[in-house]
Amino acid sequence: MRLSWFNVTSLTLGFAFLYLPMVILVIYSFNESKLVTVWAGFSTRWYGELFSNEAFLDAAWVTLKVAVVSSSFATVLGTMAAYVLVRGGRFMGRTLFSGMIYAPLVMPEVITGLSLLLLFIGIGLDRGVLTVVLAHTTFSMCYVSVVVSSRLMTFDRSLEEAALDLGCSPWDAFRLVTLPIIAPAVISGWLLAFTLSLDDLVIASFTTGPSATTLPIKIFSAVRLGVSPEINALSTIMIGLVTIGVLTASLATKRNALRQKKDAQAAARAA
């Protein structure tokens, strides 16, 4: 099918709008010149400088630690919350609770950050990696809970009943039946929480201390002193990682769907 002139134009405009800034950034990360806006030939010099810059490497390491730990906590807590809200039956205030779990999704980050900051000061907790982890866990667990509870809502309840019927305790039924089946949703919840933590600037800057500078904070403060080509190199690496992640995830999903379809056909033939 050939696209019409109009469709070609709108498609081009749309994609240009989305990707042009990133393309320019990637191109300039290979710029020889120190001046970000003047092209002086191809070079990988800034990548080399980036990897010898202790401050950036430290910040990257802190960010990774915070992201892994907070997304793991958020996944556990979010899954538990989702399970209780979907499966807990009707208990007092259930509607209120399910409303409240979604509130942080729509709350401005500044407010979340500020309230957490006040809390940490109030209880006298020194700001550092721990407080950032706590803050990230708090705001990303509701995303996990949304993802997991939408999966649980379509989960066939009788599977759990069958497990109980065959002698499982409720915990075993969850561990052996529910969890393996909803695992894809739990994993996407984790990935979501991980990326949220990875690129969060606002909440991290409210809740962090001098000992724990995350990469977004580092980039943001570096950019205020002028954009250095090193930042471009760093951003290019991040774009690359995200692209690989997204591609792998979607390829895996596609292959899975394809295999399921083939299996179903095989079953239909065998029957």
């Binding site: 066939d156 599977l159 009943e161 069958a162 065959l166 002698g167 039946v177 299996d263 079953a267 239909a268």
Partner: protein, 375 residues
């Protein structure tokens, strides 16, 4: 040892295995089960029969522990089971929706319950193989549930619930998706298992023939209430209401008013001028009481000539003929426009002449062939 008939329900000294005592179950303001009282005895093969939505699954779920009665008591071996969670009940259920674990293979699905009991590995493997063989799925053991057909899934669900050899087994339409041959084989397997293990079965079925074949007793339900609980023969031969008579098998229902005669004989008056019908009745009727005669088609003889002597005979003409297997069912239209079904076996095919459409015939039956019902 004298061969005694298995009929614990007739023995006042027998303690029931399951007792429903005035059980009511409501979902919101909808009443699914209403004030139901029922005893089921050990080693019974108890069939629940009834139209869709009458509460069969709900009863099973209350026994398995997934629903609590709104009021009333359910006892298992004399103990109120209200506080016993499903995983602590010596009851296994086969779900109407099968509820197979999609992430496990057929083999692991069947082994699931045995693993929970920490059965030794070797015994476990033997037991699973035995179950696979029983439901003829040996070559599918390594497949996942979505890789097999609907009927095969049903058999896996059956095998999984049988594997633990529970005291009480609840089967919610266990054989619905199987073809006739496999269904009959499985029915006999079930009866065999029951014979060997002494398990008590409660089985839900839509197939009345199946209930008649396998059950020690049958309960006919309607809208959350029991209409009749009795042996298959009794349900068939002596239904207690038009509803039950109509639900089980083919039946002619003739409405009229009662006119009691001597010796337990009741005459049924139909329309003005029509011949009264003569029936022996166990229950007494008041003169003029509205009643229904329920009579099975196979109890009605059909002939071309007027029979010599019969308790009841009517003349009509053949309106329709259905031929199923070795049975002919004639639909005979009476002068008043009503239709009576009469059935004859096609045994002496050459000797007995069959009838054709529009042919005038006589139908006749004895006074003990049907039952007279007051509701």
């Amino acid at each position: 040892m004298p061969q005694t008939k298995f009929a614990p329900w007739d023995d006042p000294n027998q303690k029931p295995l399951i007792r429903f005592e005035n059980v009511t179950k409501r979902f919101g303001d909808f009443t699914a089960i209403e004030a139901l009282t029922l005893d089921i005895y050990e080693r019974e093969f108890f069939a629940l029969l009834g139209p869709s939505g009458c509460g069969k699954t709900t009863m099973m779920r209350m026994l398995a522990g997934f629903e609590a009665p709104t009021s009333g008591r359910i006892e298992l071996q004399g103990q109120d089971i209200a506080s016993v969670p499903p995983n602590k009940r010596a009851v296994n259920m086969m779900f109407q929706s099968y509820a197979l674990f999609p992430h496990l293979t057929i083999w692991d699905n069947i082994a699931f319950g045995l693993r929970r009991d920490r059965m030794p590995k070797h015994d476990l493997a033997d037991r699973v193989e035995e179950m696979l063989k029983l439901v003829r799925l040996e070559q599918f053991a390594r497949r996942k549930p979505h890789q097999i057909s609907g009927g095969q899934r049903q058999r896996v669900a059956l095998a999984r619930s049988l594997a633990k050899a529970p005291k009480l087994l609840l089967l919610d339409e266990p054989l619905g998706a199987l073809d006739k041959k496999l269904r009959q084989d499985t029915q006999f397997e079930l009866m065999d298992i029951q014979e060997k293990t002494g398990t008590t079965f409660v089985i839900v079925t839509h197939d009345q023939e199946e209930a008649m074949t396998v059950a020690s007793r049958v309960a006919v339900m309607d809208q959350g209430a029991l209409m009749q609980v009795d042996t298959p023969e009794q349900i068939y031969e002596a239904p207690n209401s038009v509803y039950v008579a109509d639900f089980i098998g083919d039946v002619n229902i003739i409405a009229g008013t009662a006119q009691p005669d001597a010796d337990g004989v009741v005459m049924l008056n139909r329309a003005e001028g029509a011949t009264p019908l003569r029936t022996r009745s166990e229950i007494a009727f008041a003169p003029g009481q509205p009643c229904h005669l329920a009579i099975r088609p196979e109890k009605i003889a059909i002939s071309a000539e007027r029979p010599e002597a019969a308790d009841n005979m009517l003349q009509g003409k053949v309106m329709d003929i259905a031929y199923i297997g070795n049975l002919f069912t004639y639909h005979v239209e009476l002068p008043d426009g009503s239709v009576i079904k009469a059935q004859t076996a096609n045994t002496k095919r050459l000797a007995s002449r069959s009838f054709t459409w529009e042919e005038p015939v006589w139908i006749a039956w004895t006074d003990s062939a049907g039952v007279l019902l007051d509701r």
